[in-house]
Symmetry: C2
Subunit: 454 residues, 2 copies
């Protein structure tokens, strides 16, 4: 008898806790969908700051914007955390191609980030086309030496979850220049790591092997890649490349922007939500990752607007230099380690401002089981997929300290049409989709800052 009374009592408490959480989700959703400022904030970031590669004057302006936006959101405390970042500069760049049967035409291109250019000189060389790395390996040394290798690897459109397709194709951007350099190639052209049914070239970073020559590497859009394939099949094609891009010898002092609300019961324990403030030097860095920044700020604003005092400290972080160095994420983890900070959860939002569909998790099974119990609360907001392993680049250095990680998963279909292009602009972001992502994030932060993560 006593047991059943106790059971009923516990059940009632559990039910009330669920009802309470469900009600709070509703209030969070109404607050953001009706009064959210993230879309307006994104407009300002995209149109008044624009793209903002780490080390650039625009990145410094973005830091000032982020500090101000965090204060306006009502954070108890806002501060800048110093980060020394690499400083890559694009400069002017041109690629011309002369097919055997035609005249020389200029092709829209982008040098791959962190790459070295031709030093401003015009280089001319025959193009050798391969469809993938296997085909490259079969080339004779003569076929590679002093040639410009065109890697025509396609982003696999048959893979439904596009981040998997990205993982498959991105090695051509990241690694192919080293592969080509190791055999004496002059430069590399890649088909952009892109799902786009269009001609936008996509930049992004590469990583040169120290032991190899740092040869120029550029990306072209899908339509022009199709054209180049056709021309290469018809006869010999010649590339003319002139580019000025280079890595500056000195790093630049920059900052992570941090805002927090102090926890009422566990001020020393932190729930982190963040995205990255830097972007590539094209477009406006709207989906990558302006949306993650304004959603993280929205979490702070919403908790404050609703008068929610979290039990654990809630911290929003706008990381610097995710795109070409990860120095912000590394500096944050170093500081956390030095200050003995305890993070009970770190959530990243860096997959675009599209309709949220789920969260990925990278944490011990017991903690994940606790979060899975909350899934029902997310379903009315279209957030259903809790089955993926996901964190985020900026928070990955925290992982080594044992911090549980999560990542917001928005609908992934449009992201790699826009990613790292001149087309990643404010107009590509839908106000309702962006806000709904903020609802999902705020809901998750609320739950963990209310119940902890044991």
């Amino acid at each position: 008898m006593k047991t059943s009374i106790l059971t009923a009592f516990i059940t009632t408490i559990a039910f009330n806790a669920f009802a309470q959480d469900s009600l709070m989700f509703h209030r969070i959703s109404d607050e953001i969908m009706l009064h959210g400022t993230c879309y307006d904030n994104l407009y300002t970031l995209c149109k008044k700051v624009g793209h903002r590669l780490a080390g650039s004057p625009a990145a410094a302006k973005a830091v000032r914007w982020g500090e101000q936006a965090m204060k306006e959101a009502g954070a108890d405390k806002v501060w800048l955390q110093p980060v020394d970042v690499p400083h890559w500069v694009r400069g002017e760049e041109h690629l011309y191609i002369k097919p055997e049967d035609g005249r020389k035409v200029e092709i829209p291109m982008l040098s791959i980030g962190n790459s070295e250019g031709t030093g401003g000189a015009l280089w001319e060389a025959p193009i050798v086309m391969v469809k993938d790395m296997d085909e490259f390996k079969k080339l004779s040394d003569d076929e590679v030496r002093d040639k410009i290798i065109f890697f025509d690897y396609h982003f696999r459109q048959d893979i439904i979850f596009t981040f998997e397709g990205y993982g498959d194709a991105v090695k051509y951007r990241w690694m192919a220049p080293n592969l080509a350099a190791s055999r004496g190639a002059l430069a590399v052209i890649i088909r952009s790591v892109s799902t786009g049914d269009d001609d936008f070239p996509h930049t992004g970073s590469l990583h040169y092997a120290d032991s190899l020559k740092h040869i120029p590497a550029v990306a072209i859009g899908n339509y022009n890649a199709d054209w180049l394939v056709k021309k290469c099949k018809q006869g010999a094609a010649t590339a003319y490349l002139r580019s000025e891009c280079h890595m500056m010898p000195e790093t630049v002092r920059s900052y992570n922007v941090i805002g927090e609300i102090k926890g009422s019961e566990h001020p020393e324990k932190i729930v982190l939500v963040g995205g990255h403030l830097d972007s590539w030097d094209v477009g406006e860095g709207a989906h990558d990752d302006g949306t993650g920044c304004v959603q993280s700020i929205e979490v702070i604003r919403t908790l404050k607007a609703l008068g929610i005092r979290p039990k654990y400290t809630v911290r929003a972080v706008l990381f610097m230099n995710e795109e070409n160095g990860l120095k912000g994420g590394l500096a944050y983890a170093d500081s956390a380690r030095a200050n003995n900070e305890e993070h009970i959860l770190a959530i990243e939002t860096d997959a675009g401002g599209f309709s949220p569909r789920g969260f990925g998790f990278d944490m011990p099974a017991k903690k994940k089981a606790q979060i899975l119990k909350y899934k029902t609360l997310f379903l009315p907001y279209g957030v259903y997929d809790f089955g993926r392993d996901e964190g985020g680049a900026d928070i990955s250095p925290l992982k080594k300290m044992g911090v549980p990680m999560a990542g917001l998963i928005p609908d992934p279909q449009r992201y790699f049409d826009l990613h790292h292009t001149n087309n990643d602009v404010f107009e590509q972001v839908n106000h309702r989709e962006l806000k709904l992502g903020a609802v999902a994030l705020t809901g998750m932060v609320y739950l963990i800052s209310e119940h902890g993560l044991k």
Copy 2:
């Protein structure tokens, strides 16, 4: 022992059937994502035909396009089913507003479809603003008579599933003109039935009560509605309306476009998939409902391309006149009744070409239970929500004949930004989202045409 062998045998068959279905889903997905023609078809429909209100020359052109596209998809049989449709014409239209404190300005507007205009004359009248029907009812007769009533009802942005918000707000477009006419108002202005954070006016249909005067009704975009609210609060505002729209006295002969693949085992039983071919006379009718048409055609093309001979007949229907009369849906049901056709399922796709998220169902519990067993097959494609009651307008006349109904449910966040506007154009459709919707539809059609629906 015998029982357990039987059980094992049945389990094996069930498992094999599941594995077979899963494999076929994979083949369907690869075929559409890699070789799908729906996106190219949509380009042609949007750019070579354009918007296509029933009864217009463009609608006749769309019928010829649909017939050709259905043939190219490889349908065994393609035919046109006659439908007599109403013929509404917009003509020229202008709305100017003069606030008490300012000069007269022209406001972008659209007459609501099926409405009568001012006969080309310029009407001038004071504006009376109400926030909803309740507030309208409180007005005195003097406050209504000969006035232009501005219904400032907002689409509820707090409702996450936007089709529910639409259901709530659309009565102002459909009914408010009658309400105003019943008390002697001259005309009606409504805030568009729109989630748009912009200034696009949204058209759509109204239905005049026969007993009441058919007064002009126009819609303005959200930004101008905000402006007008401000001006009305500051003082008296006057509207100047001139419009030529009218319903033509004669109907026009048009057609539903139908293509089918004959079933190998049950040719007399039909699985229907369809959308509507007509659109409003603005934009390009891309999401409403060009996407539904090209997805329906893609179902036929994909089954043919994969050499799948369905056991039940698969029929794709492009219905005419969904927007302002539903004559196509009614004619189709009449014909089905006259010919004693048996439809085992009718699926509509008329909610935009966005990432698919689920299907709604309107059918007996037993049939629904059968479909719910297939849910696991859809999850890898992001299709998870099988919990809504949904069919579609065009197939609703079949419901009276007891036909089980289903509707594809895409992500609903962007639809009502674009719906019935000049902004509903090809460029708003993403190639991967559109194709993924076709994968979900083809998967559902495949399953039912393979297993039946008992």
